[in-house]
Amino acid sequence: MRRLKDLIENRLSRRSVLTGTAAAAMLATAGAFAPSLAQDVNTTGLAVTDDTVTVGILHSVTGTMAISETGSVQAEKLAIEQINAMGGVLGRKIEYIQEDGASDWPTFAEKAKKLLVNDKVAAVFGCWTSASRKAVLPVFEQYNGMLYYPTFYEGLEQSPNVIYTGQEATQQIIAGIDWVAKEKGAKSFYLLGSDYIWPRTSNKIARKHIEKLGLKVVGEEYYPLGHTQFNSVINKIKLKKPDVIYAIVVGGSNVAFYKQLKAAGIDMTKEKPVLLTISVTEDEIRGIGGENIEGAYAAMKYFQSLDNENNKEFVKAFKEMWGDDIVIGDVTQAAYLGPWLWKAAVEKAGSFDIDKVRLASPGIELTTAPEGYVRIHENHHLWSKTRIGLAKTDGQYDLVYETEELMEPDPFPEGYQ
């Protein structure tokens, strides 16, 4: 090993060029059978040894976001364990360093920096909220790290240092609105959301699309995160009688919102109004209670109930590792894709170097994804289907519709800004 390194460093000496070529040729032949040497697949000083590679997991396991992010941590650990069981990445076992973002954006930035600068991890799987992603983004760009970000989010971003494994806004919204307009004959919409960037941007896109279809938005309102008094908006909804309540309420507010909606006599199991949400996954329903949200529709790309072989295996493995009573939401599945996409990109690049992984990433496909088939677009987002699910009392969704084709990710949608 030592000799080979010397050889590479003294390329100018003719003799060593010759021996070097020989060594490289030997390596190439050996490569098919044995893992290549660490300095060949890692020229930038990442935490890669001859038989291990270290990655980072950066989510909140304490604080208000812990309830949402725990699923992602579990999914990422499961994926890493499965990859290791298959022999790892480029013959190297994945080891991970887990850091806690503590639901606090500056802490995310601090920990991201620690993972990249101190631990020199080859990739980071993490973040959940947009705020935490925005906080770590400059860190990843400055120190040239690679982040696999699992959450569906507002778009308007495309960093060379991030692979977005969740949907950007148009992938969740447009097909959903088309569906509700066509299948449910919806004419009027009431837009509603928590007050921050994701719901606002999503509703902006929704409004543009609704107006494009020649339909009407009869109301649009926002409430602070953690808001629990939705009676006034519910009264307005009763007054305006929209065909569709388009709800992007986030986190704990959901519990209050759906309970109050039910208490106010708005029965979502009836024909009208239709409630369509893009913010309630199986995880949130656990808090809301299936009986309170029964009959609502959600536009996601993944539901735990998806009926395909990949998903059955995934759900089984997930439950084996984390217990039978666990539920798997959209983001959890997207988080599970992260390590697999990274593995595929590394193997395509034949190297752990961030720049090479970045170049190799577009076009990477995953046929084993629980959601079906996904592929990385040039813009670092995933091609994926939009699916509509109908909420049931047992806290699961029944798939009622999925797009025929994969939806193209479009983080900067023309005409929607």
Binding site: W105, P106, E110, Y196
Partner: protein, 388 residues
């Protein structure tokens, strides 16, 4: 020199020298730039903590809203840096190039009027001092002139912290909302993200902190400082002696606010962003904890307290990502139970006497011997005996 001697006793000079040595020599030698930058971040909280020593420890004004001022300073700096980072070229992808990205996301098409002045660095630097001072003055004048104090004042400061957080989050088009103001790059063309810049900012921060300590020591040893202690312990007596108590309180509250704001501005520079999570109730209370762990009567103690708590936070959370909050909680409980006067109290009880004896072996080099800390400094905490 006699002037300096009058407010810096030998003990204080020793304390100052040790802190300076730790900041300027020990830490840069012992740590790589990543850790040093973290350490620099902790030091920015120390500004708040020493402000609280003045305000709370000495003056008896418990403010649970210091995060407000930390945030104001930080936001002033962040606004300037954000404008500099939002050149039309850098933001060409937006619908309205030349305004900060989050404004564009919120369909704002022109720079709001109150952002305009932050194009100027001079204005920004002045604003970092004036905005929090003015805000603190308004709060102080409204409260202290009406003789609102004690618990009521603490509650009101909390309310203000909550209000400001809600305001910042709610007005996200103008403030960046929950995300805060992120992705700050340069200061007058100077890239603040490089290692070299981090070293420079660290030293600037350290120098400012030493300056702040000297200033606070000056205030504490002045007549004003003694009046503060007096009005903490018997406000009525001071008032009956003919002093306008409210003005002293307003002054010290403003001073603490300005110190916090300087810390906030340095925080933004070193960390590269500002967010409402530093403004709210929780960070404000945390800052009081820094001060309490250090010993709320000692400005030096406050610095060490801040460092200890933050170091513990980082270390615990890196070692036990899922359990670290319990460890931190245990630390706080231990502090209150075992050494209620914080690190400074420990020092005074166990180490202080030896240090004093060692110092007084050397003959004074002229001038009057430093005035002993007034007994009143300590009468609120019986566990700590006057050192001299």
């Amino acid at each position: 020199m006699t002037n300096v001697k009058s407010f810096l006793s030998r003990q204080d000079l020793l304390g100052l020298a040790i802190i300076a040595a730790v900041i300027f020599v020990l830490m840069p030698l012992a740590m790589d730039i990543f850790r040093l930058n973290l350490f620099g971040k902790y030091l920015t909280y120390a500004f708040v903590a020493i402000g609280l020593v003045l305000c709370w420890g000495r003056g008896g004004i418990l403010s649970l809203g210091q995060g407000v001022f930390f945030g104001l300073g930080g936001y002033c700096m962040a606004m300037y840096l954000k404008l500099e980072a939002s050149t039309p070229e850098a933001t060409a992808i937006q619908s309205t190039p030349g305004i900060p990205d989050f404004m564009d996301w919120n369909q704002i098409t022109a720079l709001p009027w109150f952002w305009e002045p932050f194009n100027s660095l001079t204005f920004t630097l002045i604003a970092i001092f004036v905005v929090p001072a003015a805000f603190a003055f308004i709060i102080g004048a409204a409260m202290f002139k009406r003789r609102v104090g004690g618990v009521y004042f603490a509650i009101i400061t909390q309310a203000i912290a909550a209000i400001l957080t809600i305001l910042i989050i709610g007005q996200q088009g103008y403030t960046g909302g929950v995300n805060g103001i992120t992705d700050l790059r340069t200061l007058k063309g100077w890239d603040i993200r490089t290692d070299e810049a981090k070293y420079i900012l660290y030293y600037v921060n350290g120098a400012l902190l030493i300056g702040a300590l000297v200033l606070c020591q000056f205030v504490l040893k002045s007549k004003l400082g003694r009046l503060l202690v007096a009005l903490r312990d018997k406000e009525d007596r001071v008032r009956f002696s003919g002093y306008d108590v409210a003005n002293f309180k307003i002054f010290v509250f403003c001073l603490a606010a300005v110190l916090s704001a300087v810390g906030g501005a340095m925080f933004t520079l070193q960390v590269g962003f500002m967010s409402p999570s530093f403004v709210g109730i929780v960070p404000s209370i945390e800052m009081v904890i820094f001060c309490a762990v250090g010993g709320r009567l000692s400005i030096f103690g406050a610095v060490y307290g801040t460092l200890l708590v933050n170091w513990a936070k980082t270390t615990f959370s890196e070692t036990f990502p899922e359990l670290w909050l319990f460890g931190l909680g245990a630390l706080f409980i231990a502090v209150v139970l075992v050494f209620p006067n914080g690190l400074a109290g420990l020092y005074r009880t166990y180490l202080g006497p030896y240090v004093d004896r060692w110092i007084s072996k050397k003959p004074p080099s002229g001038g009057t011997p430093a005035p002993a800390a007034t007994p009143a400094d300590y009468d609120a905490d019986p566990a700590a005996k006057p050192a001299e």
